[in-house]
Symmetry: C2
Subunit: 345 residues, 2 copies
DNA sequence: CTGAAAGCGCTTACAG
DNA sequence: CTGAAAGCGCTTACAG
């Protein structure tokens, strides 16, 4: 690799402007008074030589990188863009840089994370990018961290920002039961270890028990919040001649809903006449599905924003909010059985 | 801000292991032979002290940041996730870090880009994040750059990776003319300065002229590749009692198509019976629109990947490919009038 | 208000 | 193969 030589340094400026490097530095950072005439001279030389201070040197001298990192399991996720938009906004507001990287769990287990105290001042960790053990390691090393869509484990107290999964799901299922008379609702499970999945399932069960409906393991399949997986699970389920009958399905998330729609349709089950379907996320495609999907809206960009804000509290030495729980709301479209003659919007 | 003190440094390791810092450095980087016994001692001490080398110091010493940047106009764009996924993959393959930032054009005009030679070794610039002038400035300072979905201006030769817009659009329009007998096709324009928009319009016009259809300015409206804008433009167009009749619309991109669908529907125009509609991008929602949208598929992740690869060629001192043009292909669904009885997939 | 000098935590010729 | 020392390009006490 060719070494990039930015050639012109603070020393060049100092020499040409006939001042000390300290003065140039002070002028640059505006953190001490520099007399007007020197200021003018320095600025002129800087313009003339097209000087750009090297961030790296500055960071080393200040023992501070002015950079935060975002770790995600992958970049394909539907709401990744919104999350990043929220984060980037506040990061740039604080004049920090943003490093992003992916990191799947079960890695070698070594210390080599792409992001850490070696290259950032703090980290935003999304869902299950890292194992609890890996998170504790970073935490033990005093790296400021905030968790997104995941809560802190016992012992460590890392601020968390996430969304309300349980109550929203409960409302969604109650809606199915109370307003559409559904009682045999198929649960499409998310991955284990995934906290959103966990709480959605809890909310699901609470709604059932509120209506004295026993939860039936025979009415639960795997979906993993993925379209293909949900599709295959349901096809398999339906292929079993002894499968339980059902009149609704909670797909876990909108992505899975697409697979569920396909499987249902292929088996001649009409939505919502024979089977109501509801999802979670209110992703971009939800309103365009046929029928438009009833789901739960989560303020993803806002989640990104507040996660970043918490991280800056930490960096500023302020006490962060331990748990930020963003509220969600159900959005009724037609897949549950509501307003059947509306068009997509 | 609290200054983070990672406390333990290479000097601590050297002292404890009773070797010189040079040796620790060599062991760390594996760039010179270090005798087995010293290696063992060093490794032990490192494990014991939980040592992590500071990237910043390393970068300063090596005059190389091992970091590349991605500049985008905003993060909301539909295909941003795929682009980023492609880029991140190769960046991490080369053991580099990835900085992302947004940058709207008309900024103060000063030199203060969030990303530049001060904090990266090279830059990926997407579409119109920066003005040509700003790009030349970076180029003049020798910063390795590759442009995505935008080509280099005269004088500077910066590698570009983009997609085939013109031919695909021409095929799409030809399809409308030849297979569906459309001849009065409304053009929904993208923003000026936007290169994709430019070439799509060229392709559009070529297809018309191949069939001896004169391009009619009265049959062109503004869309800007945005749903709202396209919607409003078309509403306005239709509200004009003297507007030209049309039997098809090329929406410029899929996002705009959503607005066009709405406006058409509100005016009682049936798709595709009365008006064929075609888009560009093959975004996630395209197959779910009603009717499913005929459009053009672009390999966005691949674009990200190859842009990053070109940047690394530059960083490695290799000669880059001046222009990488990824091919696109039209995907026929029902909004043009094809296979009307298929379901979305 | 300004400067000389030490220091941030690494790497890398230069000797041996 | 290993070490002493200079240097990367900044910042910041410490004096004056």
């Amino acid at each position: 690799m060719t070494k990039r030589t930015s050639s012109i340094t603070i020393r060049d400026i100092a020499r040409e402007a006939d001042v000390s490097v300290a003065t140039v530095s002070r002028y640059l950072n505006q953190n001490a008074f520099v007399s007007p005439d020197l200021s003018v001279r320095i600025q002129e030389v800087m313009d003339q030589l097209d000087y750009i201070p090297q961030a790296t040197a500055r960071h080393l001298a200040m023992r501070k990188k002015n950079t935060v990192g975002l770790l995600v399991p992958n970049m394909y996720n539907n709401f990744f863009a919104a999350l990043l938009a929220g984060i980037e906004g506040v990061v740039s507001k604080y004049d920090y840089s943003l490093l992003v990287a992916t990191c799947r769990m079960n890695q070698s287990g070594g210390y080599q994370f792409p992001l850490g105290s070696h290259n950032t001042d703090g980290l935003l960790i999304f869902a299950d990018s890292l194992s609890d053990k890996q998170i504790s390691q970073l935490y033990d090393r005093q790296l400021p961290i905030v968790l997104i869509h995941k809560s802190s484990t016992d012992g460590v107290d890392i601020p968390t920002v996430t969304i309300e999964n349980k109550t929203a799901t409960r409302k969604l299922i109650k809606h199915l039961i109370e307003d559409h008379g559904r009682r045999r609702i198929l649960l499409v499970r998310g991955s284990e270890n995934q906290e959103d999945a966990y709480w959605r399932e809890v909310g699901f069960k609470e709604a059932l028990s509120e209506h004295d409906i026993a939860f039936d393991e025979g009415l639960a399949i795997r979906g993993s919040f993925e379209r293909e997986i949900a599709y295959n699970s349901l096809k398999e389920f339906l292929a079993d001649p002894n499968h339980q009958e059902f009149d609704a399905v909670f797909t876990g998330d909108d992505d899975a809903a697409v697979g569920i729609y396909d499987a249902l349709r292929e088996n001649g089950l009409r939505i919502p006449e024979e089977v109501s379907v509801v999802g979670f996320d209110d992703s971009q495609i939800a309103p365009f599905l046929t029928p438009p999907l009833t789901t739960v809206m989560a303020p993803t960009e806002e989640v990104g924003r507040s996660a970043a804000e918490q991280l800056f509290r930490l960096l500023d030495g302020n006490i962060p909010v331990p748990v930020t729980l963003h509220s969600t709301e159900i959005v009724l479209r037609s897949s549950c059985g509501c307003n059947m003659h509306h068009s997509a919007s």
